[in-house]
Symmetry: C2
Subunit: 341 residues, 2 copies
């Protein structure tokens, strides 16, 4: 990482190319350290934070680590989401992977790539969303990198702690397990995206005002990531986050375990807005629930009788090797998922 | 991270868009696990490796973490470096930051962004360079992400262990300390870059064959990163890696400590090729030695009398607040360093 150096306050209207990498990194570091929303965990695990070649974090036990990258025009558009929300979402994406192992996110490192003519304000807003969200989920921004690129590319690597729990792999399901998910509206993010695509295609934003919760779910999914450690403590056998759609995750889980997973669609948590939006757009709400990505809710297999509050049973694990939805065997989507913008 | 699933071997000539993200991630994971060059450390610290939502690594003591991103056309060009070397270099960049804290790199997570029409072969070669280099320096590839982007963007986050050493910050120098660097030819990477730029500008690659070591130094710096932990054990007070040029790093170190750093240019390690290339191009070899980035050698401040083998004394730390080269106060470069391609 590049080490920033202090200076005068920086003008939000200037460009990244004008202000320079080191100068702006100093601002980003300052913002990461200055956020006063930080709760009682502040500095607890951090030996050396932002502002050196590398950070040092000291959490007892194994370290969970995952990385995710969001690309402008592929994973987000600044006319659909403001920079703050784009930054926040990138943190949730990586933190959901930590939660999916049963971990809590303790820190993140961030890479921001952007065109030189990007305004300083845009980068500061991206960073503000990143810092706020990291703090909100109990983590800290440990450092980052700022580079020139042809489009905005946001990489977040999250590290986390297991606090004594056994990490929960995706392939650990056992016959007789109960399949369950967190959240109250799978497919909400896909519904929000469909509304934005529809408005874009028709050149008419008329429907957008009717579905604020779905747009919010697309712009910034809000899974309860504390359910990851809860599931681990409850003895979950397998877990993953729903980033590529429920069916894709079920197929991965079934393939990894060599088992059959049966899901009943009427058990999948949904809400009226998802169904209303589907009716408005003439689309199938089941498709959003089953294949809609980016909700980042958790999918897990629990032994019978231990399902914690916050989880909804959607099916069961049995012998065989298939994913069945309402009794019918399904196959995965193909193609490059991240192209679905 | 996305969880890959197994399948048939993949055709190197096909494109990433044709083959799909999950399929290719499976191949990348397979390559990371299959490399038989892995030495006795294999699997030692890894609880869960590539292939799940997140990896779990269990190294005793604090975790050092740093991230760096390389962008096609900014930090590398495929007509100047092959994909394998580009991947290898990205690992060295991040691992040098871990070494600069006194740590040894135990694992990396990788983000590869690329245009959908990138060949599978290019991505496999990038990955091969990443995996080989991670293994060579004693680390493992813990996981990664593959996304569509307009240009190749390579993000490497490295984690490392301190093995009981105190982390060495950039600002810890004390009056009376000895300034020292690793390596035998600072500026070699900048010289190699200058040769490539010259050949590009003149449309004549005639000089390139004369300076293979400089081209190699540009394409893949080879700092001895074990000197980071060596310096920590020897009691170094401050350390950083030379990624933005010696003077920039000296200014950062002086500013952070509020001290004066004095350097003598005739002590800076160099070699004949750097001077010969400068003469050939009509350029100043001192500028490469003082401001050439990307050597990734280490710069440290040691208490007197403890300088380990492998380090060259280039100057001293005193009271005041300045960087002086041969007695003259110098100022840093400005602008966005990563634009210097």
């Amino acid at each position: 990482m590049t080490v920033g150096r202090a200076g005068d306050p920086v003008d939000r209207a200037r460009t990244v190319g004008e202000v320079g990498e080191r100068r702006l990194i100093t601002e980003l570091t300052r913002a990461a350290l200055a956020d006063d929303s930080v709760g009682p965990l502040a500095g607890h695990d951090i030996v050396i934070g932002s502002g050196d070649d590398a950070a040092v974090i000291d959490t007892a036990g194994p370290t969970v680590i995952s990385t995710d990258t969001s690309v402008q025009g592929r994973h987000f558009r600044f006319d659909w989401s403001d920079a703050r929300t784009v930054g926040a979402r990138a943190v949730i994406q990586s933190a959901a992977d930590i939660a999916a192992m049963g971990g809590r996110t303790t820190g993140i490192v961030v890479s921001i790539g952007c065109p030189p003519d990007t305004t300083v304000g845009t980068v500061l807003d991206l960073n503000a969303g990143i810092v706020e969200t990291a703090h909100r989920i109990g983590g800290r921004v440990l450092g980052g990198d700022l580079v020139a690129a042809d489009q905005v590319v946001l990489g977040v690597t999250a590290v986390g702690a297991l606090d004594g729990a056994v990490p929960i792999v995706v392939g650990g399901a056992r016959p007789g397990d109960v399949l369950a998910v967190t959240g109250h509206a799978l497919g909400a993010s896909a519904a929000g995206l469909a509304l934005l695509v529809d408005a874009d295609t028709r050149g008419d934003t008329g429907h957008l005002d009717e579905f604020p919760t779905l747009l919010a779910a697309y712009r910034l999914p809000s899974p309860d990531l504390t359910q990851g450690p809860v599931a681990a403590r409850a003895g979950a056998h397998a877990m993953t986050d729903i980033s590529d759609g429920l069916i894709e995750e079920l197929i991965t889980m079934a393939t990894a375990a060599g088992l059959a997973l049966d899901v009943q669609t009427d058990r999948i948590p949904t809400d009226a807005a998802v169904h209303d939006a589907a009716a408005t757009l003439g689309m199938d709400p089941q498709e959003w629930k089953l294949t809609g990505g980016e909700d980042h809710e958790l999918l897990a297999a629990f032994p019978p009788g231990v399902l914690p509050p916050g989880w909804t049973r959607i099916g069961d694990v049995g012998l065989g090797s298939a994913v069945r939805v309402d009794g019918r065997v399904v196959r995965g989507l193909h193609g490059w998922q991240s192209f679905g913008d």
